[in-house]
């Protein structure tokens, strides 16, 4: 995560845009497949989007956090 200080926000912007594009899953619109035999593929896909969002935001906290440690030291309460 070291080399990503300056490119971090760009990477996160790209990932969020990708999530928003994948969210519009026209390709599964009329697909009635049941994944594992019980979960409709549209629901499965969007549950995966939720998990991908978790991963994206986790990465954001590591490479693109908008508050510096100096600010925390000066004004934070911890």
């Amino acid at each position: 995560m070291k080399a990503s200080k300056s490119s971090g926000p760009l990477i996160i912007t790209g990932l969020v845009l990708l999530l928003l594009i994948l969210h519009q899953d026209n390709w599964f619109w009329t697909d009635a497949t049941l994944v594992f035999g019980f979960i409709p593929i549209a629901l499965f896909w969007h549950a995966c989007i939720s998990l991908a969002a978790v991963a994206t935001w986790f990465l954001a906290t590591r490479i693109a956090w908008p508050v510096s440690d100096e600010f925390e030291d000066q004004e934070g309460g911890e």
Binding site: H23, W29, L34, P40, A42, A47, S50, L51, W57
Partner: protein, 531 residues
């Protein structure tokens, strides 16, 4: 305990008693200052912040509405309302929450209006936003109070069928089995208002945060438990996997796909969750964070928590579409989940589910009541009278008095026309979303001027009123206000768009154009916010 409705009533009462105890206990830690009452002295760590923010953004709709909407529209509601929120809510916490926390920590803001007044160097923007924010929160409050009364009535049905005020009859004059003998909504709503009032009044933000955390745990756990119990009962097979498969195979094809759903409406629904960026009650929760690092857990876990609550509810909703006609499912989709709990599980789980739904409702109500009390005190009374005019003790008293006032007003409004309020939900969110460009510009655009922001707010609210008026013309049989969409004709085709698109466009364009032709804030002011 065999008496119908009695176990449910006992569980609800025990649950409400626990909440009261929690609120009263938290008041023992109250330091007596305004800052402690309104933002818990900025002492809230990551876990409590996660739970309180999640509990505040999830209303009764997360449990009852999600299953009801899935019953009506199919699996598409998850993408439309849940996965979109997982992306967009965390985006708002990340882009707006952390940034305003940083500014508020430095310049001592508690409310959004304090921030906007300082950033734009304009008193008027505060007076303009005050009625708009309060006006958009009140219908949201009403939905919670009304839903609470309705849930208690439905799940205690049969308790006292001989008491005239507990009786509910159908149009044919027969007792309505789903409601007859249950605690009347006016009484259930009153009890909820009183319980929330007590723990907010005594516990302030600390009590609210603790209660939210407790309630969020309750509704998440009970939602999952309910899902498995209903699956096992409805499926009738040996293993849980077989039950899930049996139920999924009984669902009509249009409910496991989105064949009936407009793609453009689905796409433009993405703008609705931006509303959290302008929720005044969420802003106040952000201010409670001990440090910016406390935001990391909510930013990361929020989409996962949404998934835990919504996936089971959406599955239950679509399963209900495949149930045999002789089960006599209720006509109102929002009562599908309580109906299945009541008919497919025992009274004990019914009582626990009632507690879970009330938890989801009250964990939003408390923050909203506290927020409106805080806005009244900080942005009206103290602002008009001067910051040093009143002591901290007096300001805590004012905040509490305003909270009592707003609880009383909400309760009395809830006794009026109850049905039309539910359609207002998405309109409230659209209104907050329409204001979203203003907060983004205030944080990230040096060129935003006071005139630009004020014009943007006027454009947002004017477009909201025009579209709302258009929406009222949609006949009830066609879904009324809640089904109103804009139609965009392109190349002989018509594409459905959510009204929020027009609202956001009008506020953004107006804000930018007016900002470009009006004087920018002073360099000193810009250095304060962008230096």
């Amino acid at each position: 305990m065999d008496h119908p409705g009695l176990p449910q009533l006992i569980i609800i009462l025990v649950y409400l008693g626990l909440l009261l105890a929690l609120g009263l206990f938290s008041s023992r830690l109250f330091k007596g200052t305004k800052e402690d009452y309104q933002v818990a002295s900025h002492s809230i760590g990551p876990f409590l912040l996660l739970m309180s923010i999640f509990g505040t953004t999830m209303t009764a709709f997360a449990l009852v509405g999600s299953s009801g909407e899935a019953f009506r529209e199919g699996v598409g509601v998850y993408g439309m309302l849940a996965s979109s929120s997982g992306i967009v809510h965390s985006l708002c916490f990340f882009l707006i929450g952390v940034k305003v926390w940083k500014l508020a920590r430095r310049y001592k803001y508690t409310t959004q209006i304090e921030f906007f007044r300082d950033r734009l160097d304009s008193d008027f923007v505060g007076y303009l936003m005050f009625p708009i924010l309060v006006g958009l929160v009140i219908p949201y409050l009403l939905i919670g109070v009304i839903s609470g009364g309705a849930v208690i009535q439905s799940l205690t049905a049969g308790l006292a069928p001989d008491l005239p005020m507990f009786q509910v009859f159908t149009a044919e004059g027969n007792p309505n089995p789903a409601l007859h003998g249950g605690i009347p909504p006016w009484l259930g709503s009153m009890v909820i208002c009183v319980v929330v009032l007590v723990y907010v009044f005594f516990g302030g933000m600390r009590g609210t945060t603790w209660a939210n955390t407790f309630q969020t745990l309750v509704f998440m756990i009970l939602g999952v438990v309910t899902f498995f119990v209903i699956a096992n009962k409805l499926g009738g097979q040996e293993s849980i996997l077989d039950n899930l498969k049996t139920l999924a195979n009984s669902v009509p094809e249009d409910k496991v796909t989105r064949s009936e759903m407009s793609k453009t409406k689905f796409f433009t629904y993405l703008l609705i969750p931006l509303s959290v960026g302008m929720f005044p009650h969420l802003f106040q929760h952000w201010m409670t964070a001990k440090s910016s690092h406390a935001f990391k857990l909510p930013v990361v876990c929020h989409p996962f928590f949404i998934m835990i609550v919504w996936v089971p509810c959406v599955l239950v909703g679509i399963w209900a579409t495949g149930l045999p006609a002789d089960m006599h499912l209720p006509a109102n989709p929002n009562t599908i989940l309580p109906f299945l709990v009541k008919t497919q599980t025992g009274p004990i789980l019914g009582g626990f589910l009632a507690a879970g739904i009330l938890a989801a409702i009250m964990s939003s109500l408390d923050s909203q009541f506290l927020c409106i009390g805080t806005i009244f005190n900080n942005d009206v009374v103290t602002h008009l009278a001067g910051k040093d005019r009143f002591s901290d003790r007096q300001q805590v008293m004012f905040t509490r008095l305003f909270i009592i006032g707003i609880v009383a007003i909400t309760y009395f409004l809830s006794l009026g026309n109850v049905r039309s309020v539910f359609a207002l939900g998405v309109w409230c969110f659209s209104g907050f979303s329409a204001l979203f460009p203003i907060v983004v510009a205030a944080l990230y655009w040096r060129g935003l001027t006071a005139a630009g922001a004020i014009s943007g707010v006027f454009a947002a609210i004017t477009s909201w009123c025009i579209l709302f008026y258009q929406g009222t013309k949609v006949p009830i049989e066609q879904g009324g206000l809640s089904k109103f969409v804009l139609n965009l004709p392109i190349g002989g085709e018509s594409y459905e768009l959510m009204p929020v698109v027009a609202m956001m466009l009008s506020s953004t364009v107006t804000m930018i154009l007016v900002s470009l032709v009006t004087p920018r804030p002073s360099e000193e002011k810009l250095a304060k916010f962008f230096g």
